[in-house]
Symmetry: D3
Subunit: 251 residues, 6 copies
């Protein structure tokens, strides 16, 4: 059930049986010479909708811009500053919490979002307690990074080994190829690709990783791989979601 394709009475009805919601979050950032700028949002959204279908959970609209400041030396990247993203998440979640949602399951497509998301969760809980929301103490956020699913990680190792790399990876590119087969891009990719440099400023990042890839060979990606990744992620995260919304504590 997609929030943007629902009506408010449908949401009201939904809340009578579940307090959980899935929130996809991606990024709008360079993904090397052949990876789509929307890769992280596309992957997060696809997986989130799959999980939503499998679990009959409500899926919120995708946060398609995240924390990608280190990619901003490549044109087309759009990023929020971490303090902005924290404030955005506070605003979003407070609206949903006031309406009665208490379980927020984020499906994330971008490693660079993780730190800011965790910080935002802490700030959100604190704000809920300050606002004296009815269910403040029951409110919980869960961060699920689809690319860190055990099954996904294992398949990526099997298929690509070291060539999986850590940005513009064949696994995420494959997933976008599965979702948007009409947007498969090709470009000459140098077989030598930088890897192993820590991430500092955007200027430093571009110096370290001149074509935007971090140790990856996205040429290995195929739509068929993408389908496999999709199915594994949906299955694994559907289980996580069910566990998360069902989570209780003996008291």
């Amino acid at each position: 059930m997609l929030l943007h394709l629902s009506t408010w009475p449908e949401v009201e009805t939904y809340l009578e049986q579940s307090r959980g919601i899935i929130i996809p979050i991606g990024s709008t950032e360079q993904h090397g010479p052949t990876g789509l700028i929307g890769t992280d949002a596309i992957c997060a959204e696809a997986v989130a909708r799959g999980v939503g279908e499998a679990t009959t959970a409500l899926v919120a609209p995708t946060l398609n811009v995240g924390m990608a400041l280190h990619h901003t030396e490549f044109p087309g990247t759009i990023s929020l500053r971490p303090t902005t993203l924290i404030t955005v998440l506070e605003d979003y979640l407070i609206c949903l919490a006031k309406a009665g949602f208490t379980r927020f399951f984020f499906i994330n497509g971008h490693g660079g979002n993780i730190a800011t998301l965790k910080a935002a969760f802490a700030q959100f809980y604190y704000r809920c307690s300050e606002l004296n929301l009815t269910h403040a103490a029951e409110i919980r956020c869960h961060l699920a990074n689809w690319f860190m699913c055990r099954s996904v990680y294992k398949l990526a190792q099997e298929l690509y080994g070291k060539e999986e790399g850590s940005h513009a990876t064949p696994s995420e590119v494959a997933l976008t190829q599965f979702v948007y087969p009409e947007a498969i891009k090709t470009a000459p990719l140098s077989p030598e690709v930088a890897s192993g440099f820590p991430i500092y400023s955007a200027a430093d990042f571009r110096r370290s990783y001149p074509d935007g890839r971090m140790g990856s060979n996205p040429d290995l990606a195929t739509p068929e791989h993408g389908k496999q990744f999709y199915e594994l992620a949906v299955q694994e995260l559907s289980e996580s979601y069910r566990k998360f919304v069902g989570e209780e504590r003996d008291s």
Copy 2:
């Protein structure tokens, strides 16, 4: 050309021939008993993509949450506070301006965004001058509300007259029906619908407009109407866009 389906080298190439970008912005808010919560984002995105195709302009990912604080008493609504939205827009546009974009054409689907967008534009120009961006003085934002296109407005009057109302209108519902025919909703709609109350707080709004509609009869909407609205908006805004990016001043 959709930003999220492009690569960074494609954006680099695009920038050699154009400095313009289209940014769809909607809202995630109640639209009455039968209107989709994503109505404003759906409409803005559809029209923006149409304009992008017609003009070969780049289209950014949709800002699908906007300023809808007055709708937050209805479950499913998500809103940013105006100061948050202004900061978000500053972050977005600064990224794009640093990359070389100078003409930002917003296609907006929600009346409640207008004030905050205008405020954000002013703050963004000022920030550009403080950052000494190379093209600071050339940077321009344009706000195009698809529902206020002359041709759209005229057709809505012809088709619906007073029943167009001002929120959850048949014209916007029709457009979503055209885009998502699989998500056409029905529900008993009281023939008597509140109208004419000014907008104050969310609590007051719900008291004034108990089912969320403002003077509208969305039952009149059809997907065929939606197609007409879509085509009119795309045509009219494509012209606006061309004029906007071509705009020069004799000096």
Copy 3:
């Protein structure tokens, strides 16, 4: 009754019979070669005091600096950024709301304030609900732009036609001449005056409108006209105010 010339026990007494307050807001910005920098504040304050007298309403001190970032390339202009102005308005209105005021009637003298004021109202209502103010749901703001009063607009058209323009207009200059006859300025005014350019950055604005006027001929202004504008605005807005504070909803 002017707030700054009242004592707190007088305000306490006032609140027993009315919950309304009038808040004049202007701007401190260039108004062409002959218009006063304080024009918008002067006009808003004069009209607000007139309405206050006519309705025995309380009038708050004038917000004499507003949102005029686009005028900041002309010396003497002082502006707040929109986010600052929103925060200022939140602070002001929260103080007054805690004291028991629920009806805030803004009399505005500057078109550039409108967007930010509307955004601020939305943010203020939301904050009131978060603070659980006793009368949160009754709190209402109304924005009255004196220069958009029907009677004012009509007279300006009759007197000046197209030469009214849209900034440093003869109508607002006339009103300042009526209020401050000792500060009537003269300077050679080019009969050709720029008009029709959209408003972007401050640098762009000055390039478009080199002497600060937007299509206007303030030479046509006279103190007598000013008196007429004043009286029309006071009459029309006094009615609006009475209606606004008396506004009730059947429940």
Copy 4:
């Protein structure tokens, strides 16, 4: 020369001979049973205009709302939070500094503003250096509290001794009586008045000082006293201003 009664070309001309500007700042807060809510703004404005006349300096519009959170339990008080006031002052001063002003002479009417003003000055200097303003290193702010002028203080001691108190004082009330003889208020004043309590929260303040006065007897005030205070303050601060704008350092 009053900024709000000047045109931008007049300001441009002024800047050719002086870089100084006088900024009156007051407060909108309770001043006991007979003191005007605008007392601090009225006094600061009157003195500032007097100094402006004596020195031909430009006088900015009065900041009539300041930091008066501790008075907010009395109706009619309006206050900014310190962080808001700092941001407001940054915005104001940056506008003026960009236009070429380098000497900002604040004439202040409210003790409660002092801390926030000093903090704001520090933040403003820092911001100027970050913005690389042309004259960043020459920018200076001066805080002149009219009620702390040596001559004013001496006269207040002579006239009122201990009955001067520290809020709603006869000296400031006298000055408002001189400026607004039509707004002289009377009310029974208890001869016993609280004094000596430190200032904490607004609730605590009202508990300590139930009628708003702090150890003062404003019944002693007369318009004639007010005239004397006015003249002493204008004379003393005119000298301070001349010294401040003329201040140079041997290098």
Copy 5:
């Protein structure tokens, strides 16, 4: 009793008998050619711990960075902007207030912190009332500057006369020598030292005070003097603390 060397059950027990806490605040800023960069934090911490011992009060960890923007042209200085420091103090104090503390006794080692601290106290009280904290109206902050203790000031005058100066003073240097005898620094000090210039920007400060001292001769400092200053400050502030936490009001 030092907070950082206590356990939470010890704090819980402490709160049963006292609601007071001592908070040392210093600065990390240049103190001339021989003064330690940590001088203000070292002095505040030492005195605070002495007072804690004498009164069995709880002592919080030292805020060792404060408001020192005017010293930032000297390497090694670290400063918060005033708005940041106010927010930090709000966060700190809200945590402590929620836990039940109501009396916050700041022992401050840096004149430059005073304005921002006072502003922060006002903002904190206001926030407490907005959060509806149980004891909001009982919450009180007290600012004690150890270097302004009557006894300290008197001894400094006796020992150093005019050579005490106002920054990098022999009295504060002496106190650090007493605390850290192993870190006594020597360097050639010009007998001529700048004094009397007002404080504006950091660049201006360094121009006025090229070696960082303000009229002081820290060569006069000895660890023995430091011991005396320490003991006087501890004694005087212990009394202040006892009075502050015992403070009641007849009702």
Copy 6:
């Protein structure tokens, strides 16, 4: 070399040979019935000073309050909100970067700080580029969590196995016992200790972990263990530091 025990000319000299600085960051939060509230700050500071000695690096004053919102239901905890901590770090690091430092090596004692620190680094790099700092592209931050040193982790597993737990761990308690043998606390510790619950709000945390420990048995800690942990961490992080400041990139 400790910054707070240095003079500004010493820092100036230091900068001629190194651009690196070590910044210890801890937290002020409950650590179970016997752990010190300052545990994380104490450990970070001790290790940082050890590394500073081993490498002759400059060590900044300890940030002794961090992000511990989830511990705020236990008295004595003080926390910043993530957005506040990010702003604090921006202010700190900008001061140091302007002075010429380019390598910031954080030694962290608190897992809860990690997310916010990483977010802050990204925001800081971005700000440096906006401020056009001379060495913006060379600026790098490194996060070293002493408790995650390989050697430390290994020893903790050997000594405590599963009883190490994840908060109020015997390893960190041991380190504080080594540093402050006079502050070793004892209390009856239930042999059964909660573990495995995810971290959500502060209220939820206290419900899950009633005495504050997370799966740990701090009774196993001894000062001798502490010495071992200290030495291992210092050795391992000294190597990391040397590598970090020496880090170059072939170009």
